[in-house]
């Protein structure tokens, strides 16, 4: 199932249970997968039109009235375009607003550079009080949405909206503030978020054949990062690689570096090398931005060499 369909199904369930759960759109409800909910929940769905700043602050006003608003747009317009509204109306004012950004990084594909957020995590990560979450697959997303709804405070959900390969088993138990160990290993810790998690697992399999035993940890919540898990794994393996569909400045790589600032070990990165996006389909963009399984394998070998 597409991630947005799973997300919309979760939201429908929450809205059914609680009339204070509301969704606000800025003319992208179709992209977010929630368009059909307008008919079913006419008093809980509000389209603000193409006016993201107003949407964010209206959500804060609704939250001040006891509602639990979720706002939706593409990642660049849900973050960098409304950065001040998120900082002041939502975070500084401590309002319980959830922010859903779809099409993170290269997944914006044919919308190209203007719609391709390589910086959204970086933009939000320096704002106090916000939680930043990026789901890996449908299983994790379905567990995360009710947990995030129950969490009293601002959360950014970086939502890849199409289908993603299954990573987590059916008996998976989600904890918003705990990173997930996907594969234990002793030579290298790979911290990965979002859509590249499956690629990291594939890379680990191939690296194992070459005698490199990788530990794979999914850091689904980039802020606050699960420092304890990151530190314990890094200290165990002595080398680190971060993998993300985001600029290497400001995102997961930066968060991991901050957690490991006092450790003497190499921390390599697979991510967008401080450049803007461009138009294209995923295979081209993965290669152009250096986000392929081969890139992960090469960076992993380098990290191990640097030990």
């Amino acid at each position: 199932m597409e991630m947005r369909a799973a997300y919309a199904a979760c939201m429908a369930e929450l809205m059914e249970q609680d009339r204070h759960v509301v969704i606000l759109d800025a003319d992208l409800s179709k992209a977010s997968g929630t368009r059909a909910l307008y008919e079913r929940f006419p008093n809980q769905m509000f389209d603000c039109g193409v006016a993201e700043q107003n949407m964010a602050s209206i959500a804060a006003g609704l939250a001040s009235y006891g509602f639990k608003p979720w706002i939706e747009s593409f990642t660049p317009f849900a973050t960098r375009r409304i950065c001040d509204q998120i900082a002041i109306s939502i975070c500084y004012a401590k309002q319980n607003v959830k922010i859903v950004g779809t099409d993170p990084g290269i997944s914006a594909e044919l919308n190209g550079g203007t719609h391709m957020s390589m910086e959204d995590i970086g933009v939000l990560r320096s704002i106090p009080g916000i939680v930043i979450f990026e789901p890996v697959d449908e299983t994790q997303l379905r567990q995360a949405i009710p947990v995030i709804n129950a969490y009293d405070g601002p959360v950014y959900i970086r939502l890849f909206r199409k289908a993603l390969p299954d990573v987590f088993p059916a008996d998976y138990r989600f904890d918003l503030f705990r990173a997930d160990l996907l594969r234990a290993g002793k030579d290298l810790s790979i911290f990965v978020s979002g859509m590249l998690t499956a690629d990291a697992l594939t890379a680990a399999g191939m690296l194992a054949a070459e005698g490199i035993d990788c530990e794979i940890i999914n850091v689904h919540t980039i802020k606050p990062i699960d420092r304890e898990t990151v530190l314990a794994s890094a200290r165990k393996t002595g080398a680190v690689l971060t993998v993300e569909n985001h600029n290497v400045i400001g995102g997961l790589h930066s968060a991991v570096l901050e957690a490991l600032a006092e450790e003497k070990l190499p921390v390599c990165a697979v991510g967008v090398q401080d450049r803007f996006g461009e138009v294209g389909m995923m295979p081209y963009l993965r290669t152009a931005m250096g986000l392929t399984t081969d890139n992960i394998i090469a960076a992993a070998k380098r990290a191990v060499t640097l030990k």
Partner: protein
């Protein structure tokens, strides 16, 4: 009532002058221009309970021009939300009365504001919330004329008009001045009333927004628009720095200005109509108004 409201305005102005004078600097001009509105709302028109600032279904004022915080605080203190002596902590480290309104710090403040344009959208959100809850509240919101240059104001105006939020009453503090000069010269917002009407609002123009009875009449007129399917914008023609002539005379320079104890005493002399003393600079007993 007119005399009571007028004397309240003087008391509020005196407390604004005292609290900003105590610190030595502040947003004097834009605080003094909105005193009549605050007195009318908090002492005559709003359904509120100072003993229960979170009263469900209460009317709310969201002061989107957050820099008028000191005037709102002086009004809230007079109304009994907190002790007037706290006004002297304005902008001091650790205070609950920061320069711009903060809902998490000050009893009676219903929204955090200061980044211009945002509070107005928040008020629209609150008005939508009140409609959904069907609690009968009126949401009041105050914006500046300079603030009206923010695009977000017009995004929110469009939405409130389109969604028929007739429980929302906005006020524009049209004091004609902003930091860089006259609003007309910096980036004209004229014709203002026509703009609001074009966005699906009623617009009421108040010739003298520093006349309590004119303001009160306009608020009552605006309240009658509930049921019309349109929000109302009340444009208050005010004077920035109103009530203290040497502040008024500074023009755009009175937005955020140095304000010494000597300045405060000079202002109090004018407001009280007698030579002010050092004692007048202090905040003393409670208001007689209940």
């Amino acid at each position: 009532m007119e005399e009571k409201l007028k004397s309240l305005c003087t008391e509020i102005r005196c407390d604004v002058v005292r609290s900003i004078g105590h610190l030595g600097t502040g947003h004097v001009g834009g605080c003094l221009s909105v005193v009549e509105l605050l007195a009318v709302l908090y002492f005559s028109e709003m359904h509120i309970d100072p003993a229960n600032p979170k009263l469900p279904g209460r009317d709310r004022l969201i002061c989107s021009k957050g820099h008028a915080g000191p005037a709102v605080y002086a009004t809230l203190a007079r109304r009994g939300y907190f002790d007037r002596s706290l006004l002297m902590t304005l902008n001091q480290g650790g205070t609950n009365l920061p320069s711009h309104c903060d809902m998490n710090r000050t009893p009676g403040i219903d929204m955090t504001t200061g980044s211009l344009g945002q509070g107005f959208s928040c008020a629209v959100g609150a008005a939508l919330g009140s409609k959904l809850e069907d609690d009968g509240a009126t949401i009041f919101t105050l914006i500046g004329d300079g603030e009206s240059q923010e695009g977000q104001i017009w995004e929110a105006a469009m939405f409130a008009g389109a969604k028929h939020l007739d429980n929302l009453i906005g006020f524009t503090d049209s004091n004609k001045l902003q930091i860089d000069g006259p609003v007309e010269a910096v980036n004209s917002i004229a014709p203002l009333a026509q703009k609001w009407r074009a966005f699906g609002w009623h617009a009421i123009e108040v010739e003298n927004g520093n006349d309590v009875m004119q303001v009160r009449a306009a608020v009552r007129l605006a309240k009658k628009n509930r049921g019309s399917g349109k929000p109302t914008m009340v444009i208050l023609n005010t004077k920035k720095g109103c009530g203290v002539s040497f502040v008024e005379d500074l023009g755009p320079g009175n937005h955020n200005m140095p304000f010494s104890q000597a300045d405060a005493k000079r202002a109090l002399t004018q407001l009280l109509g007698r030579e002010a003393t050092d004692e007048d600079l202090e905040i003393g007993g409670e208001s007689e108004w209940k």
